[in-house]
């Protein structure tokens, strides 16, 4: 894989689902599968899920390269990369 590439992860499946443990979802979709050198763009429609992710990502050893709301799509995003 090109080290400069960005992998897109859509969190639609964990949004607004009571019982869907967000931390478990973050771990299985992102934290435990991320590879060094790869940048991940994680998108969410829910500001609460977005806030949880950007806070927890730092605790789990990621660098947050960028975060915010894409005004065109209305989606929230976090750009993550494993800290070296």
């Amino acid at each position: 894989m090109n080290p400069e590439s960005v992998v897109l992860i859509d969190l639609r499946r964990v949004e607004d689902k009571c019982g869907a443990n967000k931390l478990e979802a973050f771990q299985s979709y992102i934290f435990s599968t991320a590879r060094p050198g790869v940048t991940y763009k994680v998108v969410s429609r829910d500001p609460d899920t977005w806030y949880s992710l950007k806070s927890l990502a730092r605790d789990y050893g990621f660098e947050v390269l960028g975060e915010g709301k894409d005004e065109e799509s209305g989606y929230y995003y976090v750009l993550l990369k494993l800290r070296a």
Partner: protein
């Protein structure tokens, strides 16, 4: 602040009153590890829905002594205004609101839009957890008329002056799913709904950002389905939290006089031997 709040406060209002001694802000979460623990409104205390509002080992809501003890631990006094908000579209905050009403704490409000709206509007958040000074809280009245048990629902089936409202998704109501896979502890032996119940999903009451729709619109939506203030209303979902949300809309926002939450909901009814069940789209 000195005075009564509620039933609904806006984020701007809370911004102005944060830190006042007689205004207690409480976040009510289903999943505190990805909500309160990673950031909350400055000064807010935590109610963990599973741990703090449910009784163990039996299945029940906390009793009045449990509520008293919770209020004391959080430093809430009888005279305080309590502002509740939380994760998952305020569902569990609404459940807490219902419990506050049962145990007679009327000076309580929901924060419009919950965590979602607060974060969306870039308001302050912190990880710092406040320290409470234990209070001497006492429950002085208990209003169990706000709650329906299985037997109450059974007795009221098909009564014209009582309307049952199922606030789950259309798929759950029709019996196509008993509970989504991410809710392994909330499965039922049977799918469907309580005969006679009308399906009005909880989400009908909110906009995309989690705030409530205009009252006139809400009044019309419920009335179109036969849910009118002259009838007693019993609301249910799967474990009671979405039902508490609709209870809040009907009783607190729209002023319906007789609304009860059947918190046993489908996780009780759908497992009960001999309970009548209807499948499909029709009541």
């Amino acid at each position: 602040m000195s005075g009564r709040v509620g039933p609904l406060v806006e984020p701007d209002w809370l911004d102005k009153h944060l830190g006042e001694e007689d205004v207690k802000v409480v976040e009510v979460d289903y999943d505190p590890e990805t909500a309160y623990r990673v950031g909350h409104i400055p000064g807010a205390f935590l109610i963990d829905w599973k741990r703090d509002l449910n009784k163990y080992p039996e299945r029940d809501i906390i009793d009045q002594y449990g509520f008293e003890s919770l209020m004391r631990r959080l430093g809430i006094r009888n005279s305080d205004a309590v502002i509740l908000y939380g994760d998952y579209n305020n569902w569990f905050a609404a459940f807490a609101y219902w419990i506050f009403k049962i145990y007679g704490h009327d000076n309580v409000a929901l924060l419009n839009g919950g965590r979602k709206k607060w974060i969306e509007t870039s308001r302050p958040m912190t990880r710092e957890e406040p320290r409470a000074t234990e209070s001497d809280y006492r429950v002085t009245k208990v209003d169990l008329s706000l709650r329906a048990l299985f037997i109450d629902v059974l007795r009221n089936l098909w009564r014209r002056d009582v309307v049952l409202v199922d606030v789950r998704s259309p798929d759950e109501y029709a019996g196509r799913v008993t509970a989504p896979p991410e809710y392994p502890n909330e499965q039922a032996q049977r799918g469907g709904h309580i005969p006679g119940a009308v399906n009005i999903p909880w989400s009908i009451a909110v906009r995309e950002d989690g705030t409530f729709k205009p009252l006139e619109e809400l009044r019309r939506v419920y009335a179109e389905k036969g849910v009118t203030p002259d009838r007693e209303v019993i609301v249910y979902c799967r474990i009671g939290e979405r039902a508490a949300f609709t209870f809040y809309v009907l009783r607190e926002l729209l002023g319906y006089p007789r609304v009860r939450v059947y918190d046993g909901s489908w996780s009780e009814w759908g497992n009960m031997v001999g309970a009548p069940v209807k499948t499909g789209e029709e009541p």
